[in-house]
Subunit: 326 residues, 2 copies
C-alpha cells in the first residue's frame, strides 16, 4: 500500500503550497495573517485529497480539481474556526485556536473570509456549464450550518437518541465529505452513476470518520492527537460513545453518565473513570464495529467504479482512515 | 417624485414576502427561527431595491433579478449579524441583536447560514453563461470582510487618517452597493459601459450613504433611528465626523477629542458636549458637503444611461437617501 501513501504525501505537499499561495499579497494583514496562521499548518488535507482522488477515480486528472480541492480545505477550516469559538476550544492541532491567539472578532472574521475565498477557488475550476458545482458547494455549506446547529442544541438537551446523533453527524461532517466526492467526480467528468457511487462512498466514509473521531477522543495519545484526551467528556458532548453507553448502562453506571449531562461535563481527573465505564459497557468495541460497518458500505459503493486501478486509491484511503491515530 | 416612492414601497413589500419564503420549511428551528427573527423586519431593503432598479436601468425587468435582490439582502444581513457581535451591539433596528436575544453561537451560525442561503439565491437567477455574477458576489463578500477588519483595527489604533477611513468605508459599505448595481446591470442584460456607469453610481452612493450614517448617528431622533444617539462616540468609533473634527481642532477641543481615543469611548451623558464640539468645528456641515459631493458623483455617472426614463428611478433614490432620517 506504500505507493498510495507516497502519492498522498506528495499531493499533501502540493496542497500545502497552494494554500500558502492563497494568502500571498492579500491585505489587510489584520485579517490574512491570522487566516494564514490557521490554514498554513500540518493538517491532514483529507478533504482536498478526496476531491482529487474522486476526479481521478472517474478517469479525470488531479489537475482538473486543484482549486476545488483548496476550496474544500478552506470551507472545512471555516467550520473549524467558527466551531472552536462556539465550543470555546483552546487548542486545535496542538496550536492555540484563533479566538484564543487573537480575539473573538478576528476569529469570526477570519472564518467568514476563509469561506469567501473558498468560493473564489471553487469558481476557478468550473466551466460555464458547471454552475451546479457551486450549487453542490453551497448545499454542503447549508448542511454543515444545520448540523452544527443541531450539535449545539443537543449539548443542552437532556435526551438525544443515537438516530438523532447520526442525523447530526451526517449533516455536520459526512455530507461535506460527500460534497468533496461529488465535486471531484463532476470536475473529473464522471457519469451520473459514477458520481452517485462516489457520493455514497463519501457519505459513509464521513460517518465512519466522525465516529472514529469520537473514539479517538478517548483512545488517542495526547501528543499525537493535538487535543486534550477525553475533551468530549469534559465538555459534556453527546458523542456516539456517550449515547451508546447511556443506552446500554443501568444502575450506578447510568447514574454516573447522567451526571455528565446534568453537570454539562466532567472534571479532567474524572476522564479515566469514565473511560473504564465505556470499556465495561463495551462501547469502544461497539464504536469500532460501527466504523467498520460504515467503511464497508463506502467500499461497497466503490465497486461500481469499473476500473480497479482508479478505485484502489479510494479503497486505500478508507482502510487507512480506520487505522488512523489522530 | 411620488410615483418612485410608491414603486419602492410596492417592491419593498414584494421583497419582504420573498424573504419570508426563504425560511419556510427549513429545519432545524434552532437555526432558522433566529434567522427569520433578524431577516423578517421592516428593513429598508435598500440593497435589493438597487439590484432591481439597476436591472431596469439597463432595459431589463425587475423579474430578472428578484432572487439576486434577495441574495443581496441576505448578504447584507450576514454582515450586520456578525458585525453586531464584534461591536457588542445591543440593538439593531429597535430590536435586540441576535447574540443578545439568543447567544453567541446562534448569532455566529445564523450569520453563516444567511451567507450560505445568499449563495443559494444568487445561483437561482444566473444562466450558465453568468458564472461571473457569482464571482462579483464573492468579490463583494471578500471586500466586506477586509473592510470590517480595517474597521476593527482602526478602533484600537491611535492615528487614522481621513483617507484611511474612506478606504475602509469603501470596502466595508460602498463596494457592496457597487456590487448590487453591477449584479443588477448584468442580470438586466446591460452593456459594458452601462455596467461601468452603474458601478460608479453604486460606489459613490455607497460612500455618501456611509457618511450619512455617521452623521445620523449624532443628528437623528432615537425613536426613528432605532439605535442609541451618539453610539459611535460612546463606542469610540473613528467616524468621518470624528476624524474630521480631530483634523480641524486645536487646544482644548483637540484634547477632549483625543480623550475619546485614549479612553476608547465616552459616557452617554457626554454625547451632547461632543455634539457641541462638532457643531463649533463645523464638521456636521463638512459631512453634509461630503455627502452631497459623492451623491453628485453618483448622479453624474448615471448620465451615460441614455434613456432618461430608466435612470429617473436611480436619480430619485440618490436624492431620497440624502434626505433620509434613519
Amino acid at each position: 500500500m506504500n505507493k498510495f501513501q507516497d502519492l498522498y504525501n506528495k499531493e499533501r505537499i502540493k496542497i500545502d503550497k497552494k494554500i500558502i499561495n492563497v494568502f500571498k499579497g492579500r491585505k489587510p494583514a489584520s485579517l490574512y495573517e491570522p487566516a494564514a496562521y490557521i490554514m498554513v499548518n500540518p493538517g491532514k488535507r483529507l478533504r482536498p485529497f478526496i476531491v482529487l482522488a474522486c476526479a481521478k477515480a472517474v478517469g479525470g486528472k488531479f489537475s482538473d480539481a486543484y482549486n476545488a480541492a483548496v476550496a474544500a480545505e478552506l470551507l472545512h477550516n471555516f467550520t473549524l474556526v467558527h466551531d472552536d469559538i462556539m465550543d470555546n476550544a483552546d487548542k486545535r492541532r496542538g496550536l492555540l485556536t484563533l479566538h484564543k491567539r487573537y480575539d473573538l472578532s478576528t476569529a469570526i472574521l477570519v472564518g467568514d473570509s476563509l469561506l469567501a475565498i473558498a468560493y473564489e477557488y471553487i469558481l476557478k475550476d468550473i466551466s460555464p456549464k458547471q454552475k451546479h458545482v457551486v450549487g453542490l458547494f453551497t448545499r454542503g455549506l447549508v448542511e454543515v450550518c444545520e448540523g452544527q446547529s443541531l450539535d449545539k442544541v443537543f449539548e443542552t438537551r437532556e435526551h438525544v437518541t443515537l438516530e438523532e446523533y447520526l442525523e447530526m453527524i451526517k449533516k455536520k461532517t459526512a455530507l461535506l465529505v460527500e460534497m468533496c466526492c461529488s465535486i471531484g467526480a463532476h470536475l473529473g467528468g464522471g457519469s451520473k452513476s459514477q458520481i452517485k457511487a462516489l457520493e455514497s462512498y463519501g457519505l459513509n466514509l464521513g460517518i465512519a470518520f466522525q465516529i472514529q473521531d469520537d473514539l479517538l477522543d478517548i483512545t488517542a495519545q495526547e501528543a499525537e492527537f493535538g487535543k486534550v484526551i477525553g475533551g468530549d467528556l469534559i465538555e459534556g458532548k453527546k458523542t456516539y460513545l456517550f449515547l451508546k453507553a447511556l443506552q446500554k448502562s443501568e444502575g450506578q453506571n447510568k447514574k454516573k453518565l447522567m451526571q455528565v449531562v446534568l453537570n454539562k461535563g466532567i472534571q479532567p481527573d474524572e476522564v479515566s473513570a469514565y473511560r473504564q465505564i465505556y470499556e465495561d459497557l463495551g462501547v469502544l468495541t461497539d464504536a469500532g464495529n460501527e466504523i467498520e460497518k460504515y467503511t464497508a458500505k463506502s467500499l461497497k459503493a466503490l465497486k461500481t467504479i469499473p476500473d480497479k486501478k482508479n478505485r484502489e486509491l479510494l479503497e486505500w484511503l478508507a482502510f487507512s482512515l480506520i487505522k488512523r491515530t489522530k
